[in-house]
């Protein structure tokens, strides 16, 4: 086994090992816990850096062994997995810092950080999975290790939310399992191959392949919160803010979206899926989700709930990109994997700061909050503008590529209205918040001001993460053309996929 063979394993291990060790720490030993967390995060980042360089230079990083006859456990790094791994690693690190500040002095921290690390381990594992079987293993493990995070607060509401989450995801997992086994029994392999594995399949199997595609999309759609499988997501908002942030930006929701990309591009192959008429169905489901999520977001007064419905809407841009044939739309969809993550995590950090510092949970309580917490609110503003698609923040790039891609593919007549309507709705549910925050006068005392305004508006560990991610959201938009920017990298993915 050479280093290249083991690199994917090391990357998975770099959060697994600290995670397992953290479980055994005493509640009070927060220094060792923080040290372990940060060591793991830095090590992972370093290893990912090596991997980025290697994949760009077309090195092969692959670990595989036979777990059972015909079932291969396979970790494999390609450009797409590297993109997702990098996103997870960077945002995990930021979120860990945030969580350390957020959970200061609250109970059960060893359990929390242990599962937090396992959550990232599972996400990275499914990003590196080299076939659907391995993907499924990590996908299910992700469900299991996220459950304690959602239930973390231990209130009846939290336990109920966690149970709803679990019900949705386990049923989705069972459907996915069934689809994958069926697919494997038809074509003999479930490996991820650029351009798909179904090119030479007997046309008599087409009807079955269509049903299997539907099953796979249901299984993945639960986590990706595609309507009508989204019901768990607003309920899971009872989780602590760092968990919501990670769930919405990287871990669970993204795992579903990432799986959809994998199935469309590397299992079915985008052209074959188009031929079977599957893309159009996916596109319709994604469009409905985009509009529905935005409409529901409009009527939420609870800030986290509004953000949750906004996630439902935004994540489906990724599926929408996958459903349009052509490299430009692919770029728009895949790059949104990164863009949505950075922007949404900023928004959730900010929402967590409002709740933790001032006890503000509702939008109607946010009047004048910009004066009290300018840094947080600035970050929030950046995220919100990005979501709406205001240039030059990240979200604009996504929408631009999706629009151009739709025109190129000749489906502009219905994709463009969807994009336009969605952007209007995004503006309609974000701009009033910004207006209240910046331009309205404060209504008096804050509901539950816990952290007094001293030198900083709140704890440093809470303030810096959203500012960092807000800067990232701006930077990936502004510097989109720079080498190694997400956009550049996604172009590499798209061109490799379309063989250009």
């Amino acid at each position: 086994m050479s280093f290249d063979n083991l690199l994917p394993v090391f990357i998975v291990m770099s959060s697994l090992v600290p995670g397992v060790m953290i479980f055994f720490l005493r509640e009070g030993s927060h220094r060792i816990r923080t040290l372990l967390n940060l060591l793991g995060a830095f090590l992972k980042l370093l290893l990912v850096g090596i991997m980025i360089w290697g994949v760009f230079h077309e090195r092969v990083y692959e670990t595989q062994f036979l777990i059972a006859p015909g079932l291969e456990f396979r970790l494999h790094a390609d450009a797409l997995s590297v993109l997702f791994v990098t996103l997870s690693t960077v945002l995990w690190m930021v979120t860990t810092i945030y969580a350390i500040g957020y959970l200061e002095n609250s109970p059960h921290r060893s359990r929390f950080f242990g599962f937090f690390s396992l959550c990232v381990t599972a996400t990275v594992g499914l990003a590196l999975a080299g076939n659907l079987f391995t993907f499924l293993i990590f996908y299910e493990v992700l469900t299991l290790v996220t459950y304690p995070l959602v239930a973390h607060r231990g209130t009846p509401e939290a336990i109920r939310g966690a149970r709803i989450y679990l019900t949705y995801t386990l049923v989705g997992g069972a459907v996915l399992l069934f689809g994958i086994i069926w697919l494997k029994s038809l074509v003999g392999t479930v490996a991820f191959v650029q351009g798909g594995i179904l090119g030479a399949v007997d046309p008599a199997l087409y009807p079955q392949l269509k049903i299997i595609f539907l099953l796979l999309m249901i299984g993945l759609g639960v986590k990706a919160a595609i309507v009508p499988l989204h019901g768990w997501l607003p309920k899971a908002m009872v989780a602590p803010a760092p968990v919501s942030a990670l769930l919405h930006a990287v871990a669970v929701v993204k795992a579903g979206a990432f799986g959809i990309i994998r199935v469309v591009y590397d299992v079915y192959g985008v052209e074959f899926a188009h031929e079977l008429g599957l893309l159009i169905a996916l596109g319709i489901a994604a469009s409905i989700t985009i509009i529905y999520g935005s409409l529901r977001a409009l009527s939420q007064d609870n800030l986290k709930k509004r953000l949750a419905y906004s996630t439902i809407s935004q994540v489906s841009y990724i599926a929408l990109g996958a459903s349009i044939l052509g490299p430009v739309a692919t770029i728009g969809g895949v790059v949104h994997l990164v863009h949505q993550g950075i922007m949404k995590i900023t928004l959730f950090f900010a929402a967590g700061n409002y709740a933790e510092t001032l006890g503000v949970h509702k939008i109607s309580e946010m009047d004048g909050i910009g004066k009290r917490m300018p840094g947080t609110t600035l970050a929030f503003t950046m995220g919100a503008l990005g979501m709406i698609g205001v240039p030059p923040v990240a979200g604009f790039i996504t929408k631009w590529y999706l629009g151009v891609g739709a025109l190129n593919a000749g489906v502009g007549q219905w994709i463009l209205p969807v994009l336009l309507l969605s952007s209007l709705l995004n503006a309609a549910y974000f701009l009033p918040i910004l207006y209240r925050a910046w331009f309205k006068e404060s209504q008096g005392a804050w509901p539950d001001e816990r952290i007094p305004a001293g030198g900083l508006e709140t704890h440093g560990a809470l303030l810096w993460p959203p500012i960092i991610t807000a800067i990232m959201a701006l930077a990936v938009g502004l510097l989109a053309a720079a080498p190694y920017s997400p956009l550049e990298w996604v172009q590499l993915i798209a061109y490799r996929e379309y063989g250009q």
Partner: protein, 485 residues
């Protein structure tokens, strides 16, 4: 070195004698004997892997006259599982019964049970199988009634009566076969047996008898009270090993003896009973108010999976898919054995600490014992069949096999069963979150918590990730079973 076969039986038997004679060192004797069994099993596995199935003639008499022992992949893996679980249970029991006078009766009976179990797994003729089956049944009944309280004794008596009924059916079948073919040796019978009324009647009687013993729906009703009222180390052994031994015999008979010449309708019936067991057992587990009752009904469901598997295997033509299905079945059985014993042992810890095992009132208890809760979670994952566990790989093969035969119904039953299992497992695990104070110590009773956790880890991580080396071994040795003798 071939003596490993006989040692697996002798070590616990001798240990049992020592435990009777010197009750003061019974606990340590139990641990040492089971450790010796593990070692003997490892030697045996190595032999089988290197040079194929092993035969041993007790006292040197040839098969017709004396007792012969036989070990292939199937039996040696079941043996290894038995020995490993026995070791963990013994370590656990030495702490569990420390304060109790029950240990005087527990150790001799427990070691006798292990000896009978080993002899059963190694027996190669039907009469010996019958004798060991009775021996196993009697010692299991005695262990069930160990604490002498009314519910336990009632359950034990019911267990005894049904067990005898099962043995009687088995014996009648054996007699029929002997009358028709003039032999009791499995290998000889396999070459002589012909389809016909006698064979069918024998197969039906023997299988029905074993179905009672393995608690296949609808003959499962004796199991929940028996397993739920016995002391935890006993429940663990009963659910993980004793029930499994009866299933092993069903497997042996159908793979080696009846399956060769008798087929048709049976597999449909077996499959339907298995499906009903999965759904009914899981449903009852979901309704259970006590943790041990939940675990017992979960065993009923798990036995159902094994029978669904058997039904599929009987339908399959000889070939790679069939071999893989057999290996998947084995993996599932092993995984369940380890997981269920871990589950029962953890339940025992909770019951001892709390004085009860009512699921709704467990919140504080499970939070105070993180290792036990973790063990319950791992065992639960294996019972549901989620990754990473041996049961997941087994379930994959099961659904794969069902799709291969276009048996959609069974595939859906398996999925539904897993979802029901998730529901009942997470009903328990949901208790682990609440606002009671964080425990000061991670490990409270190491002697009990560690063996349970090791068993759970074997069921999940070891069998789920590192079972690779077992698979080819399983397929080859099971397939080259008696037919090649």
């Amino acid at each position: 070195m071939i003596d490993a076969l006989i040692w697996v039986i002798l070590i616990p038997l001798l240990g049992g004698l020592v435990a009777v004679l010197f009750p003061r060192i019974a606990g340590i004797t139990g641990i040492l004997s089971t450790a010796g069994m593990v070692f003997a099993c490892l030697v045996l596995i190595k032999l089988v892997a290197d040079s194929g199935p092993q035969v041993y003639l007790v006292g040197g008499w040839s098969a017709g006259l004396g007792i012969s022992l036989y070990a292939d992949g199937l039996s040696s893996l079941f043996l290894l599982m038995t020995a490993m679980i026995a070791l963990a249970v013994s370590i656990y029991a030495s702490s569990y019964f420390r304060q109790s006078h029950l240990r005087l009766h527990y150790w001799p009976l427990w070691l006798l049970l292990l000896s009978a179990l080993s002899a059963l797994l190694l027996a190669s003729d039907l009469f010996n199988i019958y004798v060991t089956l009775e021996l196993l049944g009697i010692s299991a009944v005695a262990l069930t009634a160990l604490d002498g309280k009314r519910p336990a004794v009632e359950a034990a008596v019911r267990y005894l009566v049904l067990g005898l009924l099962g043995s009687l059916g088995f014996l009648a079948g054996v007699a029929l076969l002997y009358a028709a073919y003039g032999s009791l040796d499995l290998a000889t019978l396999a070459t002589r047996i012909q389809p016909g009324a006698a064979s069918w009647a024998a197969a039906a009687l023997m299988t029905a008898g074993l179905m009672i013993k393995t608690a296949l729906f609808p003959m499962h009703f004796w199991l929940p009270p028996a397993h739920a009222n016995a002391p935890a180390p006993v429940s663990a052994a009963l659910s993980a090993l004793v029930v499994k031994a009866a299933f092993y015999l069903v497997l042996r008979l159908w793979l080696d003896l009846f399956g060769v010449s008798l087929s048709g309708g049976v597999s449909t019936l077996i499959g339907l009973l298995g499906a009903a067991a999965v759904l009914w057992g899981s449903w009852c587990a979901l309704q259970a108010e006590r943790l041990k009752v939940l675990a017992a009904y979960s065993t009923v469901a798990q036995i159902g999976y094994l029978f669904i598997f058997l039904a599929l295997i009987l339908e399959m033509p000889v070939g790679i898919p069939r071999d893989e299905a057999i290996a998947g079945l084995m993996l599932m059985a092993l995984s369940h054995g380890f997981a269920k014993s871990a589950f029962f042992l953890s339940t025992g810890i909770i019951q001892q600490r709390q004085g009860h095992d009512r699921i709704k009132e467990l919140a504080g208890a499970v939070q105070g014992m993180p290792v036990t809760t973790f063990t319950l979670a791992l065992a639960g994952i294996a019972l549901i069949g989620l990754p990473i566990s041996g049961a997941f790989l087994g379930k994959w093969q099961l659904i794969d096999g069902a799709l291969y035969l276009h048996d959609w119904l069974l595939a859906l039953v398996v999925l539904a069963g897993s979802l029901l299992a998730s529901a009942y497992i997470f009903r328990v695990l949901g208790q682990a979150f609440g606002n009671s104070p964080y425990p000061t110590k991670v490990l409270s009773i190491g002697m009990q918590e560690i063996p349970a956790m090791v068993l759970a880890l074997i069921a999940t991580l070891v069998l789920g990730l590192a079972s690779g080396p077992i698979w080819p071994f399983l397929e080859v040795t099971v397939m080259s079973g008696r037919a090649g003798m």
